[in-house]
């Protein structure tokens, strides 16, 4: 299944039904949601039901799925329900049935068959191609802007290298509003959420930013539904083509200008008559993972068009880390959790130490974030080495790109920081008899608030006391 990124999905799920009704008016939105947000089984259901005139009896649909895959079926149905795509109805003779809801069905049919003349998928610019911007240029632009945003967050200027990426005030405000950075004493400081953010892959980051943008749209006087559906429109455009701006509404123009700052779209200047989507936009709702690789590749500052998808970090079993990069952003990210030693034109070396991990953990970075960052960017040699090892039939353990000793040690170092596990709550004590103790204790366990109990001392600890107290009173 398309590993639906949880964040956009959670965000959509939280929207009220009326918003879905408005969103699904646009064929591009319906198609984007269909392509990106649905597991394969759900896509099958939608396609099977799309052209039916009558609702399909629920038992018929349920028969399509083998009994051992009930969980997948229920999951698919539940997702479709939560996205307001499938509705429960009854057929004419009162049998429970499913059908695809209407604005969605009509829009998806339009998207598939192209029978409409609206501008839902953008209008190609008719201008001559002499001045057209090439795909490598777009990638470079997107990479530079996005790196600028991340660099602003982690403060690459501290390394003495300042790229001239102009971040608009809007971008900075958005990062602040999303609690990714804080301004203290006019200095930018990254927050816990910000750390989690910079270590994610680019696709997740872009969605995160876009959702922040949609959420803040209302505050600056824009219709959030319109912004959201415009984002879905952008995601269905074609890379390397330019599109007309004259059919866009004023809200859409404004969104376009703001997204230009992030490198999600490109236009020569705000007054230009056409715009280009960059790879950041066009892969938003596709399964293509080329995005993260080629962009992060371009963030490395090396030529990636020939070598897309290569990582650059090597970690040895003795905790030494080598990163083939000259990007100030990547260097400052690696410096977050390691002690850097040498810097060469295309290589930095350092060591992962107990102190460096503890420093990172104290800043709010988790061991898992560090490990996933290193393995996402692991050098091809490390992957190759690992594959050679795992073809060994004895290897029953799931393959790990990184040396297991290093992964374990990073986790252990984190645990060292958390020597105690604290749970706030209430201790119930002084029960006269075991019988008096046992009933509320079992009740607390049943309602899921019990964290600890001792039969011998007749005490138990709960996270919430109201219900247990009420229970005790009711038994008086």
């Amino acid at each position: 299944m398309a590993a639906a990124p949880s964040r956009p999905f959670d965000f959509l799920e939280g929207l009220p039904g009326t918003v879905f009704y408005k969103l699904y008016q646009q064929p591009s939105t319906a198609l984007a949601i269909f392509r990106r947000m649905l597991p394969d089984l759900a896509k099958c259901f939608v396609m099977a039901l799309l052209y039916l005139k009558e609702p399909l009896p629920a038992t018929d649909l349920e028969d399509w799925v083998r009994s051992e895959s009930l969980r997948e079926r229920d999951n698919a149905l539940s997702i479709l329900g939560r996205l307001h795509i499938l509705s429960n109805t009854t057929t004419s003779n009162n049998v429970r049935a499913y059908m695809v809801t209407n604005p969605f069905a009509a829009s998806l049919r339009q998207a598939l068959m192209g029978t409409e003349q609206t501008q839902s998928f953008g209008v190609l610019s008719q201008l001559g191609d002499e001045t057209a911007v090439t795909i490598p240029n777009l990638d470079e632009y997107a990479g530079r802007q996005w790196e600028g945003v991340l660099g602003y967050m982690v403060g690459t200027s501290g390394l003495g290298i300042q790229r001239d990426v102009n971040l608009s005030k809007g971008v900075k405000q958005l990062l602040q509003a999303g609690h990714l950075v804080e301004i203290r004493d006019r200095r930018v400081e990254i927050t816990k959420d910000g750390f989690a953010f910079v270590l994610q892959d680019v696709g997740t980051q872009v969605w995160h930013i876009l959702i922040l943008y949609v959420e803040s749209a209302e505050h600056i006087g824009m219709d959030s539904v319109e912004v959201l559906s415009f984002i879905f429109l952008l995601s269905s455009l074609e890379l390397g083509k330019s599109y007309q701006k004259k059919d866009l509404t004023s809200t859409q123009i404004r969104t376009l200008t703001d997204l230009t700052d992030f490198g999600i779209v490109y236009q020569e200047n705000p007054e230009a008559t056409r715009f280009y989507p960059t790879r950041l936009a066009t892969t938003l709702t596709s399964d293509s993972s080329a995005l993260s690789n080629s962009i992060s590749g371009s963030l490395m500052g090396t030529d990636t068009s020939t070598e897309a998808g290569s990582g650059f970090i090597i970690v040895e079993t003795n905790y030494r880390i080598y990163a083939y990069t000259s990007s100030p952003l990547q260097i400052s990210l690696i410096a977050l959790f390691s002690t850097l030693k040498y810097r060469f034109p295309n290589l930095i070396t350092g060591k992962i130490t107990r102190q460096s991990i503890r420093r990172a953990v104290e800043m709010g970075i988790t061991a898992d974030q560090i490990i996933s960052y290193i393995s996402t960017h692991a050098h091809p040699q490390m992957r190759k080495h690992n594959i050679a090892k795992t073809t060994n039939p004895q290897a029953g353990v799931p393959p790990s790109v990184l040396p297991p000793t290093v992964v374990d040690q990073i986790r252990l170092w984190q645990l060292e920081r958390d020597r105690v596990k604290a749970t706030a709550g209430f201790l119930f004590k002084d029960f006269v008899s075991f019988a008096e103790y046992e009933a509320p204790c079992r009740y607390a366990e049943d309602i899921g608030v019990l964290t600890w109990k001792s039969d011998r001392k007749r005490m138990f600890f709960v996270t919430r006391h109201e219900q247990v107290a009420a229970f005790l009173r009711s038994r008086k």
Binding site: R320, R419, K421, A422, F428, D430, W452, S454
Partner: protein
């Protein structure tokens, strides 16, 4: 007559629990209830932050660490 007391349940190693008990001996200002097994106790909510900082510092001082030299 059963009672409910507000507090924070702490789960930790026996060694850490011993340290917390020692802190409490000074002024009896940490522990609400010693739960008599060697991994749990309930402390005052207001002292949690304080305790964490103090533990972190003391453990750093006391624990033996392998050589931390940064030499390559």
């Amino acid at each position: 007559m059963p009672r409910a007391v507000r507090g924070v349940l702490i789960e930790c190693d026996p060694s850490v629990k011993a340290i917390i008990l020692k802190y409490d001996e000074e002024r009896h200002d940490y522990i609400v209830e010693d739960l008599d097994d060697d991994r749990h106790l309930v402390i005052k909510e207001s002292q949690l932050q304080n305790l964490k900082i103090r533990l972190g510092k003391d453990l750093d001082d006391k624990l033996m660490q392998p050589d931390e030299s940064e030499s390559e």
